[in-house]
């Protein structure tokens, strides 16, 4: 069957992904469990998913990552069977399931607000799917007890779900979704309502549960840190399209375009011109870099991560600029430097004073070159930098759906 995915054309990383799997030679790992082909979905004439192709391998922890309204939740709901796509097909284990209703799919969901049944206690909530399947009473007891143990809620059997804390409700929701042994677990921003500390704990716990039971997790979040720390594969989405698919390291170190670079971590994104392979000019200075394969004189986006920029005395700098703001972040200082009118963000453990003139030094392998895209010029400049604005937009993202 000839079938070319969006990311085959658009993102070389997907080839990397395939090759890696080939090299491992692990056919079980490679098996495509879920496949989306040409999926499109509109609401009120507005396209939320645009001709999307994606496959999900058996037993992997895959994260759909993107800002509010990028289509990630809709994608999840299509896989879960709560929405149907306007166009395209959905395959599960080789069979088309586009029109199979949710209750017949071997896919269970952990909902954003848990959706526990308030009329049932903890035990009965978890037993619910087994009772629907008419499993024998003693087997139900065995499996529910095992689940409660796994999510560390033994002894909570008879509690009413409304008396549980957010974290405990979360665990009940996970246990309820896993007790019927689904092939895939869908998680829709499940940690969104928890506080930071609990969130970190649950991240680790989810990851270890996934590894322990060995099924596919499809996780939706707008939190890039969450995605980086938990996933085997990250799918970065924006405007209903997949921007990049890859491992967390791929995505972070080799973002495909300005959107991905900006969304995953902090980035300085500067207009540059390729002079030759491994030679790029930006900020009126020519740098050695490690990327090649571009046409001579091609305009490109240059990404430099704030932690990869070294602060040096003015005389020794490759570029020089004036510090406009310094914020103490605990582990490091966040320094905004004005270099020829472009505001750079630099993270450094050394303190520099505002209004000080400094030099910066950039190693060749700290420079990442990207092709120009429709997102060029929209991201990666810190001239309007403000912590508060950043947080506000995060809160917005959490409101999605």
């Amino acid at each position: 069957m000839t079938y070319v995915t969006y990311h085959d054309i658009f993102c070389t990383c997907s080839c990397v992904r395939k090759n890696k799997a080939d090299e491992e030679g692990n056919s079980k790992e490679m098996a495509k469990l879920i496949e989306l082909r040409g999926i499109s979905k509109s609401y009120d004439g507005e396209k939320v998913i645009d001709n999307m192709d994606l496959y999900i391998r058996d037993k992997e922890f895959i994260t759909l990552l993107g800002p509010s309204g990028c289509g990630k939740t809709t994608t999840l709901r299509i896989i879960g069977g709560f929405e149907s796509a306007d166009e395209g097909e959905l395959y599960f284990d080789g069979a088309e399931i586009s029109n199979v209703p949710a209750y017949k799919r071997q896919v269970n969901t952990v909902f954003q607000k848990y959706a526990l049944f308030p009329h049932l206690n903890v035990y009965e909530n978890i037993a619910f799917p087994l009772r629907i399947q008419k499993v024998k009473e003693n087997e139900i007891r065995e499996r529910v007890t095992e689940m409660l143990k796994m999510v560390a809620l033994s002894g909570f059997e008879n509690k009413s779900v409304s008396t549980l804390s957010g974290g405990q409700q979360q665990r009940v929701a996970i246990a309820r979704a896993l007790v019927s042994h689904p092939r895939v677990l869908l998680l829709d921003e499940p940690l969104g309502a928890l506080d930071l500390k609990l969130r970190k704990d649950m991240q680790n716990e989810l990851k270890s549960i996934q590894q322990a039971i060995g099924i596919t997790f499809i996780y939706v979040t707008h939190d890039q840190e969450e995605a980086l720390s938990m996933s085997d594969t990250i799918v970065v989405m924006a405007d209903g399209e997949i921007q990049q698919i890859g491992t967390p390291t791929d995505i972070y170190n080799e973002p495909k375009n300005a959107f991905v670079a900006d969304f995953i971590g902090e980035s300085n994104i500067i207009d540059g011109v390729m002079l030759a392979d491994k030679k790029v000019k930006f900020a009126r200075h020519t740098f050695e870099c490690v990327d090649g394969g571009y046409a001579k004189g091609e305009a490109v986006d240059v990404v430099i991560r704030p932690e990869d920029v070294d602060v040096v005395p003015k005389e020794r700098g490759m570029l020089t600029g004036r510090v406009t703001a310094v914020t103490f972040k605990g582990v490091h200082y966040e320094i905004i430097v004005d270099i020829d009118g472009f505001k750079w963000m630099i993270q450094s453990t050394d303190y520099v004073a505002p209004e000080e003139d400094i030099g910066v030094y950039i190693e060749p392998d700290a420079i990442h070159i990207m092709k120009k895209s429709k997102y060029s010029g929209k991201f990666g400049d810190y001239s309007s930098f403000s912590d508060e604005i950043d947080q506000l937009s995060d809160a917005d993202a959490a409101e999605e759906f």
């Binding site: 879960g80 069977g81 709560f82 209703p101 949710a102 209750y103 896919v107 269970n108 969901t109 909902f111 607000k113 959706a115 526990l116 049944f117 308030p118 009329h119 619910f128 799917p129 629907i132 399947q133 309820r176 979704a177 019927s180």
Partner: protein, 270 residues
């Protein structure tokens, strides 16, 4: 400071307390007084003991009101469910249509039903038949259902529309067919609305007198008619005794029902 606050609260509550005492507590005390006294005002159990004579009437009232409540539930639950699951604009329209008859006086509505169902009424003229409807149990039950259906639909509708929409998805996700989504999750979650609806239909049904008088065509006497007759004919003590015992019976049955509803909202009485 708390003292000041509680004083403010007392002042704010005063009109309501006054109202409740004047129009609820006081009348109840008067009913109780008449129920336990004879015509001369002396204490007596006579009235209560004489109620055994009315057992047949009471049972008939119970039969008709239970049937009417059941019919209301069977029609009302699906209707409430459909309304609650439709688009917000459709919901508003449905609710308005449901409320519309309630803007007309209950008596006028009952007279209208009479005009339609009568032996020479609209229905018989239209169908060119000689159906005898008025004066049957069916007519009385029909009147009860027609008059009280909105009281069944509204609390159930309110209850279902408050259920988190993810409940449907979660149930279906965990293997419920569309029918089971309702029987296993949605119905149990709307039970408090059902209890309220049953209460609000059953209580006026069992104590109605004009529906049975008009649509029963004088062939039925329900407990409401009996009470009315006692007061009209001046037998205040017997009338009060029947009312009093009715009230106690209704309260007991509602308490039992609310046990099933076991929820912090929706239970209207007790």
């Amino acid at each position: 400071m708390t003292k000041k606050r509680s004083l403010m609260r007392s002042i704010a509550a005063a009109p309501h307390v006054f109202w409740a005492v004047l129009f609820i507590v006081l009348p109840l005390l008067i009913v109780a007084y008449y129920a336990f006294t004879d015509a001369d005002g002396a204490f007596s159990f006579e009235n209560i003991l004489s109620l055994a004579d009315y057992a047949d009437i009471f049972l008939l009232s119970l039969e008709l009101s239970v049937i009417a409540t059941l019919v209301c539930f069977v029609i009302g639950y699906p209707l409430a469910y459909i309304i609650a699951r439709s688009k917000p604009r459709t919901q508003k329209l449905f609710i308005m249509l449901l409320m519309l008859p309630m803007w007309t006086n209950l008596l006028i509505r009952t007279y209208s039903i009479m005009a339609i169902l009568d032996d020479g009424g609209f229905l018989n003229q239209l169908l060119n038949t000689e159906l005898h409807i008025i004066g049957t149990k069916g007519a009385v039950i029909f009147g009860m259902v027609y008059d009280f259906l909105p009281y069944m639909v509204l609390p159930i509708y309110t209850c279902i529309s408050k259920i988190d929409k993810h409940m449907w998805e979660a149930a279906s996700d965990l293997g419920c067919t569309p029918v089971r989504v309702i029987t296993k999750v949605i119905f149990p979650l709307s039970l408090s609305g059902v209890i309220s609806g049953i209460t609000m239909v059953f209580v006026p049904s069992i104590s109605t007198f004009y529906i049975s008088q008009k649509l029963g065509g004088g062939t039925f006497e329900l407990i409401g008619d009996t009470i009315e007759r006692q007061f009209v004919t001046g037998a205040l003590n017997t009338g009060a005794a029947i009312s009093f015992v009715m009230m106690i019976l209704i309260m007991i049955s509602l308490t039992v029902m609310n046990r099933f509803g076991d929820s912090d909202e929706g239970g209207i009485i007790v």
